[in-house]
């Protein structure tokens, strides 16, 4: 492990050098593309230069689309044959991301690579191209509660970076970058720090088995009317991994088509509908309960740690101002016999 210091200009040269071998993804600002007029959209995208890296605000979409795109063709078909689409670009990718998102992708790894004992090949072929460059995150954004979720720290990165005004510091854990990083910088002593406190804190339920009465508790009724089943919490979440498959065929060649998988979410209508009319969780409150338990209770039973990483994006994007952190606290209070208000 080694550490280096740079001026921003010097580091821009390292960045440019890395781009010769890797595509670099990071949070990028798209001016005027936000949900409201005159607001910007920040999402993960290929960065043309270091200047495009957005550090002042949280990205409203997570980096999960790098491993699990919103829409992915799983095969093409014609009358007799299936064919697997190749990835357009198969090169390696450096992704600049914060500890919560690194931990978020570790949760996706559990689902896509381990659950059911069979690795998902579409996820795997994208995942194996990624190299994590951690953006040091010392101060919390609005709605973050990563410390409560223990996802504020990680050592799952190859390089850690601190961006401080005109200075950039790097800690290089993977020796493959040592030459390049050492060549352009001065030896330093940087070691990343992590957020140690958020304004928002959650108290997690400690029960090993959720009492049956909590499934139909009246605390969920609030969400019956408040949630509008838009699914933004699901799409913005770095750990939401549900999908549906859809088939389509081409208008000009009706024997040919493709099967795609597209993001789906437990808040959306139709998520549990079966042919013949059976359906589960018709009420929005039941969907909120299902998601909440998954994120902070039953995922842990299966994998040993909580699914939610406390990035707070669900709260950032909810058009009905539902606060997931408040919901977790309300659940824990209720479990302890306190008020659900």
């Amino acid at each position: 492990m080694s550490a280096y210091d740079y001026s921003r200009k010097e580091f821009a040269a390292v960045f440019a050098e890395l781009q010769k071998t890797y595509q670099i993804y990071g949070p990028k600002r798209f001016a005027g593309r936000g949900r409201f007029s005159d607001t910007d959209l920040i999402r993960y995208a290929p960065l043309a230069s270091l200047d495009e890296l957005e550090l002042a605000e949280k990205s409203s979409l997570s980096p999960k689309s790098l491993v699990f795109p919103a829409d992915e063709t799983i095969f093409h078909f014609n009358d007799h044959e299936f064919s697997q689409p190749q990835l357009k670009e198969n090169g390696e990718i450096i992704v600049l991301l914060r500890p919560c998102d690194i931990n978020g992708i570790a949760r996706l790894d559990k689902m896509f690579l381990e659950n059911g004992d069979q690795a998902d090949p579409y996820y795997q072929r994208r995942r194996q191209r990624l190299h994590f460059f951690m953006i040091e995150c010392r101060e919390s954004f609005e709605n973050c509660f990563c410390v409560s979720m223990k996802s504020n720290t990680t050592d799952n990165y190859e390089v850690a970076l601190r961006f401080a005004g005109d200075r950039v510091a790097a800690q290089v854990k993977d020796h493959r970058y040592a030459g390049l990083f050492g060549q352009k910088g001065r030896a330093g002593s940087f070691s990343p720090e992590f957020v140690s406190g958020n304004d928002k804190q959650v108290e997690l339920p400690t029960v090993e088995t959720m009492p049956a009465e909590m499934f139909n508790h009246k605390m969920w009724e609030e969400y019956d009317s408040r949630c509008i089943a838009c699914g933004r919490c699901n799409t913005s979440c770095v750990t939401c991994s549900c999908f549906s498959t859809v088939d389509l065929f081409y208008a000009d060649s009706r024997q040919c088509g493709e099967r795609r998988r597209v993001w789906d979410g437990c808040h959306l209508d139709g998520f549990s509908d079966m042919a013949g009319g059976h359906s589960f969780r018709k009420n929005k409150g039941e969907r909120m309960r299902f998601k909440t338990f998954h994120k902070i209770y039953d995922f842990r039973k299966r994998f040993g740690f909580d699914m939610c990483v406390g990035c707070g994006r669900c709260d950032d994007v909810c058009p009905e101002y539902i606060s997931f952190s408040s919901c977790i606290n309300k659940l824990s209070r209720t479990l302890k016999g306190g008020s659900d208000k």
């Binding site: 799983i74 095969f75 078909f77 007799h80 299936f82 697997q84 689902m111 896509f112 659950n115 059911g116 004992d117 069979q118 998902d120 090949p121 579409y122 072929r125 088995t209 959720m210 049956a212 499934f215 991994s241 549900c242 999908f243 549906s244 498959t245 859809v246 088939d247 389509l248 065929f249 009706r254 088509g257 099967r259 998988r261 789906d264 437990c266 998520f271 549990s272 509908d273 079966m274 042919a275 013949g276 009319g277 059976h278 589960f280 969780r281 039941e286 299902f290 338990f293 998954h294 039953d298 995922f299 039973k301 299966r302």
Partner: protein, 264 residues
């Protein structure tokens, strides 16, 4: 990408038998290892994919009994003998055959829930899966909705069987009433010795298993099979998750001691 688990393979349809107004049994050519209670993801490219349980199988063939109630199943109904169906699988945990062998077994199945237990019953009556005794209770809504008529006639010769329809109907001289009423009438000397399988709509399974508990059957001896929406069958898509259980990989057949704790 070799061995892609999402890619189905074509199987030739060799026989189609209409079971009722909306249900039909399709036989396809396939030589695969499977266990009663498992399922396949069945698809038609351009239309879509859905999980369907195995309704019987042999060395070189496999059957699915399908209710044509949706877009995909409606399109499958239009296929003819000689055409291809696309499948992948088998998936999931089937019935615990080792525990059931040489047991006193009771099987209760309602409506299309008879399909997943049919291979099990076939193996028992054929003697390839020997049991000490078999009591079978099958329930249907009406006489028109009775499935597997030929099989049922054969089963009646080989085991203690009750075939009931929900309500009395003109032209029906057999048993009537919900399966729960018939479970209640069972005389079981040593309830601990029985293994019980219940498969049917969620409400039926809930009340039928409750009746068996009242008869003193230990919860560990009761097995149920769940049906849920699935897009993958591989433990990835999330549709069939209930609590920390994925029906596709942990089920669809589960012991009641676990299944009873699951709240959708």
């Amino acid at each position: 990408m070799s061995g892609n688990p999402y890619q189905p393979f074509p199987v030739k349809i060799t026989k189609i038998v209409s079971e009722s107004d909306v249900e039909f049994t399709m036989t396809v050519d396939a030589s695969l290892d499977m266990v009663p209670g498992q399922f396949f993801q069945i698809s038609l490219p351009k239309i879509g994919e859905a999980p369907i349980s195995i309704s019987n199988y042999g060395k070189n063939w496999l059957q699915f009994t399908i209710r044509a109630v949706g877009r995909l199943t409606g399109a499958i109904q239009n296929l003819r003998v000689g055409e291809n169906l696309f499948i992948r699988g088998p998936y999931g945990h089937g019935f615990p055959v080792e525990k059931l062998a040489n047991s006193d077994l009771i099987i209760v199945a309602g409506g299309s829930g008879v399909a997943p237990v049919r291979p099990l019953i076939s193996q028992i009556v054929a003697g390839t899966l020997p049991v000490k005794s078999l009591k079978l209770i099958t329930g249907f809504k009406s006489k028109e909705s009775i499935l597997f008529t030929e099989d049922i006639q054969a089963w009646e010769q080989k085991c203690d069987m009750t075939l009931t329809i929900d309500k009395p109907q003109e032209g029906w001289t057999g048993d009537t009433g919900l399966v729960t009423e018939h479970i209640r009438r069972l005389k079981l000397d040593l309830p601990d010795n029985y293994q019980v399988i219940v498969v049917g709509p969620p409400v039926m399974m809930k009340f039928a298993t409750a009746e068996f508990r009242l008869l003193g059957i230990p919860v560990e001896n009761i097995w149920v099979s769940f049906e849920r929406l699935m897009s993958c069958g591989l433990g990835k898509c999330g549709h069939c998750k209930i609590d920390s259980t994925y029906i596709c990989v942990d089920g669809p057949v589960m012991n009641l001691s676990h299944a009873a704790t699951l709240i959708d």
